[in-house]
């Protein structure tokens, strides 16, 4: 295991910013093309009306709301994990945090887009804003959808700032290495950073406060997303377990998203010296814990419904257990529980490849989980007159799929303009000698913390 130091870190991590290969343009062209196709499809849907989708009575929430919950869940990877690792001062976090925080920012932006897509008339989205209109009509603060608006916007603001703050010293590094217009742009982004002890202390204090503030906000966001369901009188939805169940699922899918992003960055940006197998192993163990927790929640949810034996709920229960949705349900169980349990539970398989395979499984499984919460219940409510089926149409599939390309595109562009691993934090991890290390800054070094 190699540990680059000083100017080597600068050279390695600034390389993608100053050198552009044909691969970058190819990736931008591919992902950009898919995103444009998705945007054109959304535009067509807006012009032609919501009838082009498969969303109709009684299933009014389909692919778009599934994808909304999915992306908000993925967003929990970054800021939450980064904040926890910062607060416990885990030394091995240093190369991981920024990769994670970026996922949060972009996944939240994409996730927040879905309610607007789902509106059908996106130009009316401003109705959610609490502004003094002529008729003094305000949003209904008792509606979970307005809670969503406030929670997601608070989390998005906090996450963007939490991402930006530790980039400021790195912007200063890029500024010093640049010339011309690039220097001016990075100079403006660095906000006059010089690196005085006062600036370092203020920055670290601000990061501490942000880390403490962002954890309850992150938990609240997915709890509130779960309230969109659990506040509604729909079979299997009106349950108290949804809050923690959704939060656990969000962290679970978030870790999977982070592992995939780290593996791709490691491979394409040649970051083998920074993202070690140990980082994957530690996050893999965390994913194993979350898989067990997810299994525990599903078991609870299923068993309580079964023992409650309420006819409408049992009807939805059997539809997912052994009816129409059974293939999707059991695929979800394999992807979210069996696969991570085998690959992350057996040490021999807990390699980078093993982590990526398990993570892809979890991402698929968690998307299915959200779909299985929404569609079977909405299509089989209390009275037979409200029974119905949902078949997604090509526009929905294209729009939902193109957001994965949007995520990849945003990530590629970000890695082109910002060092994807925090340079100053890596350098700060190099202490001259253990005797000089004040107890206050003692931390778990890379390799010392075995989860």
């Amino acid at each position: 295991m190699t540990h680059p130091t000083g100017s080597q870190i600068n050279r390695d991590l600034l390389h993608p910013l100053f050198n552009t290969s044909w691969r970058f343009y190819l990736l931008v062209a591919i992902f950009g093309g898919i995103v444009l196709f998705g945007l054109a499809t959304w535009f067509t849907q807006t012009v032609n009306g919501y009838g082009v989708t498969g969303i109709r009575w009684p299933v009014y929430w389909g692919f778009y709301v599934t994808s909304f919950v999915f992306w908000i869940g993925i967003s929990h990877a970054g800021t939450l994990i980064s904040a926890i690792l910062r607060l416990v001062n885990a030394g091995w976090r240093r190369p991981v945090t920024r990769c994670a925080e970026v996922i949060t920012a972009f996944a939240l932006i994409i996730g927040a887009l879905f309610p607007i897509i789902h509106l059908g008339r996106p130009w009316l989205a401003f109705w959610m804003f609490p502004y003094p209109s002529e008729r003094l009509i305000w949003p209904n603060f008792r509606s979970p959808l307005v809670w969503d608006f406030f929670a997601i916007n608070t989390y998005l603001t906090g996450s963007l700032l939490f991402l930006y703050l530790p980039i400021i010293p790195d912007f200063a590094i890029v500024r010093d290495k640049s010339t011309g217009l690039r220097r001016k742009i990075y100079g403006a982004l660095a906000l006059g950073w010089r690196g005085t002890p006062k600036q370092w202390h203020r920055l670290e204090t601000a990061m501490q406060i942000m880390a403490i503030a962002i954890i309850p906000v992150a938990v609240s966001v997915h709890t509130i997303v779960s309230f969109d369901f659990s506040m509604a009188p729909v079979p299997t939805w009106n349950t108290t377990i949804f809050g923690p169940y959704f939060v656990a699922g969000a962290i679970f899918s978030g870790i999977a998203g982070l592992l995939i992003a780290m593996a791709v960055l490691r491979k394409f940006l040649h970051l083998e010296a920074y993202l070690h197998p140990l980082h994957f192993e530690n996050l893999g163990k965390l994913m194993l814990v979350m898989a067990l927790l997810w299994g525990y929640f599903v078991f609870n949810e299923r068993l309580v419904t079964y023992y409650g034996n309420e006819p409408a709920e049992m009807s939805v229960y059997w539809r997912t257990q052994s009816g129409t949705f059974a293939p999707l349900f059991w695929t979800m169980v394999i992807c979210n529980f069996v696969l991570p349990l085998i690959l992350m539970g057996i040490r021999r398989f807990r390699t980078i490849t093993g982590c990526v395979i398990a993570s892809i499984g979890v991402v698929i499984g968690m998307w299915l989980e959200r779909f299985l919460i929404i569609v079977p219940a909405l299509g089989h409510k209390y009275l037979p007159y409200s029974y119905g089926i949902y078949r997604p149409t090509p526009p929905e599939i294209i729009v939902a799929s193109s957001t994965f390309a949007a995520m990849a595109l945003l990530y590629v562009l970000f890695a082109k303009v910002v060092p994807i691993i925090s340079i100053w934090e890596l350098k700060a991890g190099e202490h001259p000698s253990p005797e000089l290390l004040p107890p206050a800054t003692e931390e778990h070094r890379l390799g010392d913390l075995h989860l």
């Binding site: 003094l136 509606s143 809670w147 010293p169 010089r194 690196g195 005085t196 600036q199 406060i209």
Partner: protein, 167 residues
Amino acid sequence: MKAVYGLYPSGASAQQAVNRLRAAGLADREITILSAQPMEDFEFGHIDKATYMWWFACLGGLVGMSIGFGLSWVTEMSWPINVGGLPTWAWWPNLIIIFELTMLGAILATIITLVVTGLLPSKGQTLYDPEVTDGQILVGVENPVDSRVGDFQKALEAPNGARVKTL
């Protein structure tokens, strides 16, 4: 002369330079130190640590909480619609709005405090050298009294590996 400063390859030599400048009669606030990373392993890295940022964050949280309370109270009471039999202003749902705006207030107050106290340049303090980016630690004096420049230069040259420059 605008400034006299030295560039040092290690924290230990920078610490020596700081100590010598102090011995030459300079107070901590008159010494400029720049580094590409936090230098908490050294005494000079702990200069100017005290901050009211936590208090401002709490204050921001209180302001956010008040806005959340006021927004939900004023809007709901001025347009009293019965929703599901809940009171016109109900604690449970409004607590969510109040919580989110409290946290938003704390976050924004933290950022404003950081910008005002840490990032806005102080008058006459603009000394910088791009070599800091490559790992050099800068220790210097800005706007020194001309008669003392020689003393400061001597103090800055003493540690191992020092490269002294003037502006």
